[in-house]
């Protein structure tokens, strides 16, 4: 590798690989903070990815594509909300259903879009700053969604811990009966958080099909939705650590890709296992501390709230 340029390319690639994970995980974090476990991230991401791609092909507008991704994924999240919040279904089963449905639906819609090239989301460049060695491309030459993911992480952190709205969300997630007794609309608040999670998953999916690899491939998320779920646990439900975890995983992905590119004498199949194995490893490392998990996990996560009782 040639000094700064090689390192900068590596860091840029790492951040790009991390961004969809960060977006999806931040959305799921808010959902979980309100006490709802949505295992359908993978399905929502796929529907978001295909909606973004189809819109980009049809209209040529990337802004519309991003909007379409968010709306489509929010519709999926809304479906999850109706089932788990209004009809009080099991959250684990419903989340799995959402993923199975999303995989099928996205493949069904995407059938006509396989192999079509589009002009993907390009990077912004700020004259002067972007040309600086190392920091230029890494800090000032990314695409807009990378900056959006950072802003969203900061925003979510601020709202959750520094505003009244965030306090209410956390209260609903920690003790829904108490929040209900004080007079907060538990179900309504949870709907909003679930929808926010959907919108973020949609953005994450759109990032994959518009920016990361500008094309549509069936099942192109390849488990990233599940890795995002694991990241939330890894981060012990803290937005800043979600970002950190996402960059760590971006790093693993990129190291693996570079090792393949440099002709390392290991099968690409074996190297591709790395992100999944790394996910298991970090889950084990974090989860083994039961006290830490119990202190940080929202106490009502996955529990059905029945207002009559």
């Amino acid at each position: 590798m040639e000094g700064w340029e090689g390192l900068a390319a590596l860091l840029v690639a790492m951040i790009r690989a991390a961004t969809p994970l960060a977006l999806a995980a931040i959305g799921e974090l808010v959902t979980e903070k309100s006490g709802v476990l949505n295992l359908g991230v993978e399905g929502m991401m796929l529907v978001g990815a295909v909606a973004a791609f189809a819109t980009a092909v049809a209209t040529g507008s990337l802004v519309l594509a991003l909007l379409a991704a968010m709306i489509a994924a929010m519709l999926m999240a809304g479906l999850f909300g109706v089932l788990t919040l209004s009809l009080m279904s099991n959250q684990v089963a419903t989340g799995l259903a959402l993923t199975i449905f999303g995989v099928g639906l996205s493949a069904f819609i995407g059938k006509d879009f396989i192999g079509i090239p589009i002009a993907g989301l390009g990077s912004v460049s700020i004259p002067g700053l972007s040309d600086l060695p190392l920091v230029g491309p890494v800090l000032f030459g990314q695409d807009p969604l990378v900056y959006a993911s950072l802003a969203l992480a900061a925003g979510v952190s601020w709202v959750l811990y520094r505003t009244r709205a965030g306090l209410v969300v956390r209260a609903v997630g920690e003790n829904h009966h108490a929040a209900h007794a004080i007079g907060y609309p538990v179900i309504g608040i949870r709907y909003l958080c679930v929808l926010f999670g959907g919108a973020m998953s949609g953005l994450a999916g759109a990032y994959l099909s518009l920016a990361y690899t500008p094309m549509w491939v069936e099942n192109m998320t390849a488990g990233r939705g599940w890795i995002a779920l694991a990241l939330v646990v890894f981060a012990t439900w803290k937005p800043g650590r979600v970002l950190l975890g996402a960059y760590l995983f971006g790093g693993v992905t990129i190291v693996q890709l570079h090792a393949q590119g440099m002709g390392l004498e290991v099968s690409s199949h074996i190297l591709s296992m790395l992100p999944y194995l790394a996910t298991i490893l970090v889950l084990v490392l974090i989860s083994r501390d039961r006290v830490k998990i119990r202190l940080n996990a929202p106490a009502c996560i996955g529990r059905v709230f029945r207002p009559e009782h």
Partner: protein, 373 residues
């Protein structure tokens, strides 16, 4: 007028059996709407999807061929789900079963070994169990979430199979295709009906229905699974071990999914290649829920879900619709089932929300009952 939910005094047993049928009916209605929206004659399309595959003896035999792995995987999952052990990595366990059994078959080659098939059954189950033992160990030892671990391992299993058939196990005479050599005759499951792909594996599935029925309904450990699943604390007070239920749930899931993998490669496929399963392990999750986590229900649900695979094929051939329509239907039916399950605990009432007539003090009986006494 408002449609609203009113709690039932106790769960409705009728609805437990009725809602899967309601879900299937609603899925058919959704299908009508979907086909009409796509510009096809909805009645005809629905006929092509749900009925046409059953009108030939070939179609019927294929139904059983596809139902076999679904029923096997779902039976194992049901043991776990009943105990709140969420093994969703049956697909990976199936792949490992196929790798273990297939490895044995490739090692044997064309040799005529009478014990080969039984050994492959054992190897397949062992492979699935080994893969399922990882989430079991990590859950019981390190408290790691079995949903995420078993799912991550599914991706690893797929890559492992890809590595094997691209690398060490590739057929040297196979024109560089990523697939293994064809298994020898003694590694193939005999056909049940000559001229069809229906093979002995279907009998394995039936035997597994019986075995899981005994395990869940007529054994002490099955009772423990149920108690831990419904009320973990009560189970704890009774001295039942949560860890044992986790191990049992995951190992039975792994064993049966591994058997399904063996049945697939030794039955209809006859070799190893990267796409040995069109997601049977995931569809089995739907089968388990649709079958109410009951062995007989799973048998019926397995046949129904197998129909969605066949229906997807016939739709593609006759109307040129993408096969992915199968996945859409499978997702829809689980949604409708979960949605209509609300009727087990609630009934639908028409009318405005009634203001409780009783004085407020007498209403919240459930609240103190939870904390007090």
């Amino acid at each position: 007028m408002w449609l609203r939910l009113e709690p039932r005094p106790e769960r409705s047993r009728v609805m437990v059996y009725l809602t899967p049928l309601v879900a299937a009916g609603l899925t058919a209605v959704a299908g009508l709407i979907l086909f009409a929206a796509l510009g096809h004659d909805p009645g005809h399309a629905l006929y092509v999807f749900f009925v046409a595959p059953l009108t030939s003896s070939f179609g019927l035999s294929e139904l059983f061929v596809k139902a076999t792995p679904l029923v096997l995987c779902a039976l194992g999952l049901a043991v776990g789900f009943r105990g709140n052990v969420w093994n969703i990595g049956a697909e990976g366990q199936l792949i490992l079963g196929a790798i273990f059994a297939g490895g044995l078959a490739l090692w044997a080659g064309d040799a005529d070994l009478p014990w080969l098939l039984p050994a492959m059954v054992g190897a397949g189950m062992l492979g699935g169990m080994a893969w399922a033992a990882i989430p079991a160990l990590l859950r019981t030892r390190f408290n790691a979430n079995e949903i995420l671990v078993s799912l991550m391992l599914t991706y690893v299993a797929g890559l492992l199979l890809g590595y094997l058939v691209h690398g060490p196990w590739r057929d040297p005479g196979g024109f560089n295709f990523p697939e293994s050599a064809l298994f020898g005759d003694s590694a193939l499951l005999p056909a049940l009906v000559e001229g069809t792909r229906l093979h002995v594996g279907a009998l394995f599935a039936l035997a597994a229905v019986g075995a899981v029925w005994v395990l869940l309904m007529h054994s002490f450990i099955g009772f423990q699974v149920k108690v831990i699943g419904m009320a973990p604390r009560a189970g704890g007070y009774a001295g039942f071990s949560q860890a044992r239920v986790v191990w049992l749930g995951l190992l039975s899931g792994g064993a049966l999914a591994g058997l399904a993998g063996m049945v697939e490669v030794s039955g209809p496929i006859g070799q190893l290649h990267p796409q040995i399963s069109p997601g049977y392990g995931f569809t089995a999750i739907i089968v388990a829920f649709l079958g109410r986590l009951h062995p007989l229900g799973i048998l019926l649900a397995g046949l129904f879900m197998a129909l969605t695979y066949l229906g997807g094929d016939t739709l593609q051939i006759e109307l040129g619709l993408p096969r992915a329509v199968t996945g859409v239907f499978q997702g829809l039916i689980l949604f409708f089932l979960l949605a209509s399950d609300v009727l087990i605990h609630y009934r639908l009432r028409l009318g405005p929300v009634r203001v409780p007539t009783a004085p407020p003090g007498s209403r919240p009986q459930a609240q103190p009952a939870q904390s007090g006494e």
